[in-house]
């Protein structure tokens, strides 16, 4: 199939032999990439510094026991099963929404993203109310898959919106049936998005505490949190977190080997043309039933529990007026973090895709690491850094935004990556050869091509930041509350009825970027049809 994934003439050789104006861009990219890498390294340096402190005896005591093996095995098999399921569900759902004439596509485009915006606690409460006996491996697989598949769905939907249908048509003209054409052509074109999404799910589950909170399924993170919570031993907790770093290095290497060297370039030099939508025919009903079941379980159960609290909770009152301020804080912090993370992801992916070499690849791989670390490690790393070197910034909005950007940089990178792989630098070169300055070319050629990916990145980070709790509690400016912190304050005191409006608003503001994104992708498709 190498014809469908033409390998670009070695990108690195392009550095030297291009126009004088071009050089400036790699420089900007390099600066951006180095900044991103530096930010990711901040918590990592803290982690390693702390991890070197406890004695070997302590680490040995914690690591060389039977429980560690059990916890690691629990973690690995959960990550494995969930990743495969998320990949299947995410790709199938994205294909239905982006490439078929399925009824209610606009609605689905938003609803399928929302499970990401629901706090673990609400999900857990919904399931426990529905089925108190739900726990163990299969329960964890089911529930984690239902909350994490949007990490695959969103990048894949963006990638499907941006692929060049010409390659599929070539496949079909060579005699492939639609299914084979999807399997052998389309899937290869969206592979960076699928693999990226899977990477987020796998790495995320390594550091996931939600499985324990929701269905009492213990993973390795439980051991780390024990050291933090009961031992007040940050050093030992960090030493244990290094195990997660090692696991994620293996995962990141594996993904690199899988993704290979192929690039999903567009075939022609023409303007973007939307892929034609397929009529589902007799598969329409099963597809709809599947999506309804998916949303019913992933969205319906938790929202059902919110409604139950509002109706039945003894603490239900009219929310205080401050809920509006809290919503505004959440929205602006999340938007700023999403903008920053997306902006950092562009140079990181541009370097890794266009100027692939050991250093740029290392920067890109490094950018994924925060996904595999407990948020508490990253947040404490920032506490430790800022009290030493940037005290005026400590517990400021800016620091919190930077913390979010570090935590969710992996999501942004995955969002942008496949869009970057889909753009051909030959279009930019054409722009420059017509005498346009690089800035203009970037603004008028590159940015529109990247737009679906940037939108996906922005939405992923925004939604994740809007529900983030751990780093928010450590780093928020005293007196500035978010929906997540208020929700936590009420639920930790059993005031579920009073907490419910905060969770409902979290879901509601998560719908905004999802809605804008779906609007934008549909608009793009319409424009292309003219």
């Amino acid at each position: 199939m190498s014809t469908f994934a033409p390998s670009e003439p070695a990108a690195s050789s392009g550095w030297a032999r291009t126009w004088a104006g071009r050089r400036r861009w790699p420089l900007v990219s390099i600066a951006g990439g180095v900044l991103a890498a530096g930010l990711v390294l901040l918590p990592l340096v803290f982690l390693i510094d702390q991890a070197l402190q406890p004695s070997w005896g302590e680490i040995e005591r914690l690591l060389l026991r039977h429980k560690t093996a059990v916890l690691l095995w629990n973690t690995v098999r959960l990550a494995f099963a969930c990743t495969i399921l998320c990949a299947a569900i995410g790709v199938a759902a994205a294909w239905c929404v982006e490439r078929t004439t399925l009824p209610g596509r606009r609605w689905w485009a938003v609803a399928l993203v929302l499970p990401l915006g629901i706090p673990d606690f609400v999900v857990g409460f919904g399931w426990v109310s529905l089925e108190p006996g739900l726990h163990g491996y299969l329960a964890a697989v089911l529930i984690m898959t239902l909350s994490l598949y949007p990490l695959v769905y969103l990048p894949v939907a963006a990638a499907l919106g941006g692929i060049d249908p010409a390659l599929e048509e070539v496949g079909r003209s060579l005699g492939l049936d639609p299914w084979r054409a999807f399997w052998r052509v389309t899937l290869r074109q969206i592979a960076p998005a699928v693999l990226g999404g899977c990477l987020l799910v796998t790495l995320g589950l390594l550091a996931e505490y939600g499985a324990f909170e929701i269905v009492q399924y213990q993973t390795f993170t439980v051991a780390i949190f024990t050291e933090f919570n009961l031992g007040f031993d940050t050093a030992a907790a960090c030493a244990l977190s290094l195990v997660l770093v090692l696991l994620s290095v293996a995962v990141l290497g594996g993904e690199l080997a899988l993704s290979g060297r192929g690039r999903s370039l567009r075939s022609g030099a023409g303007a973007r043309r939307p892929a034609p939508r397929v009529s589902l025919g007799r598969w329409k009903a099963p597809a709809l039933v599947g999506l309804i079941a998916l949303s019913g379980l992933g969205l319906g159960v938790p929202i059902g529990s919110l409604v139950y609290w509002l109706v039945r909770g003894g603490s239900t009152t009219l929310p205080p007026a401050s809920i509006l301020t809290d919503t505004w804080h959440t929205a602006e912090l999340s938007a700023a973090a999403a903008a920053l993370a997306t902006a950092l992801a562009v140079p990181v992916t541009a370097l890794a895709v266009r100027h692939r070499n050991r250093v740029t690849l290392l920067i890109e791989r490094l950018a994924y690491l925060p996904q595999a670390l407990p948020g508490l490690v990253i947040a404490l790393g920032l506490v430790s850094f800022s009290v030493r070197y940037a005290l005026p910034l400590y517990q400021s909005s800016l620091e919190l935004i930077v913390a979010y950007a570090i935590l969710f940089l992996p999501l942004a990178v995955v969002g942008v990556r496949s869009a970057m792989a889909q753009t051909s630098s030959s279009l930019e070169e054409a722009g420059r050869s017509l005498g346009r300055r690089p800035v203009v070319v970037w603004w008028r050629v590159t940015l529109p091509l990247l737009a679906p990916g940037l939108g996906a990145a922005f939405a992923l980070v925004f939604i994740s930041a809007a529900t983030e709790l751990t780093a928010t509690l450590l780093l928020h400016p005293t007196g500035v509350n978010t929906l997540a912190t208020q929700f936590w304050a009420y639920t930790s005191g059993f005031s579920y009825g009073a907490a419910a409006p905060y969770a409902a608003l979290m879901v509601a503001i998560s719908a905004v970027p999802a809605y804008l994104l779906s609007r934008r992708m549909l608009t793009l498709a319409r424009m292309g049809q003219r």
Partner: protein, 345 residues
Amino acid sequence: MPKRKTLAALSLLILLAAATALTACGGTSSSSSDSTNTITLYNGQHEQTTAKLVAGFEKQTQIKVKVRSDDEDVLGNQILQEGSSSPADVFYTENTPVLEDLQEKGLLAPIAASTLAAVPAKYSSPQGDWVGVSARVSVLVYNTSQIKPSELPSSILELAQPKWKGKVGFAPSETDFQPLVTAITKLDGVAAAEKWLKGLQANSMVYPDNETVVAQVNNGESTVGIINHYYWYRLRDEVGTSGMHSALHYYAPHDPGYLLNVSGAAVLKSSSKQAAAQKFVAFIVSKAGQEILAHSHSYEYPIGSGVLTAQPLKPFDQLQLAPVTIADLGNGHAPLELEQKLGLL
């Protein structure tokens, strides 16, 4: 060109969001923090109760209190990282081991003698760097439709027997659980504690927190659960009496399970507002502060200035507690290591 317009609009939107957030941080980055009339409280206690204490204190003293709430263990870790730069002036917790740990590391300032005197000495730090504020008692919650009161154990140690298999819920990762292990170790020896933990491990469902334990006993997923009394009262506030299918059971007098857990407060050594911080701690153990606790829906027992709870709890002087002291509880590392050795955590 509609394409460019949409794009320009999108970029503008993002820039706008970034700009407002950045201006916001100029506005919110605590310009008033240097004022001597404002202190910062790191709060690991029930937030609504703390808010009432703070309101009472601000009214009485004109000193403003900025509150940061989080789990006490996270706040403890945060204070350790902050070291001498900590913005915190006062630290208020649900349990004592985290305060003991900070005291051992020399991060706390001595509490004023008059403040310590307001609370019976046995509820405060023997070294005097933190003071006890309120207390709650360890009990067994049971599902009333699954088990009769006469079948309930008189000792927490019985929960390790085979007849309780599959019936016990508990949360070993909560700070409330370690003191029980310490108490059994103290009263019956480390071998008994180890045996008990092993039996409990075979019999029980492990839940992430005490809120889940009481909720799961209430809905019948577990028959009995190891909790502190106030979780049950708080659940009842939320679901109403009609939603309660559980009740509390007290162990036999002086059983190691019949344990008092104390909540405490401390002033940080790094605080530059020692006087105001000491005033706050003095207030919460004073009659006025303890009255606020006595009427609050946190359902804790006040322990200072002779104030009694106004809530319909078992009267404090009727509790027949295990003979375990604060000093015995220490920083909680020993029971933790035992639990880890047995693979509970």
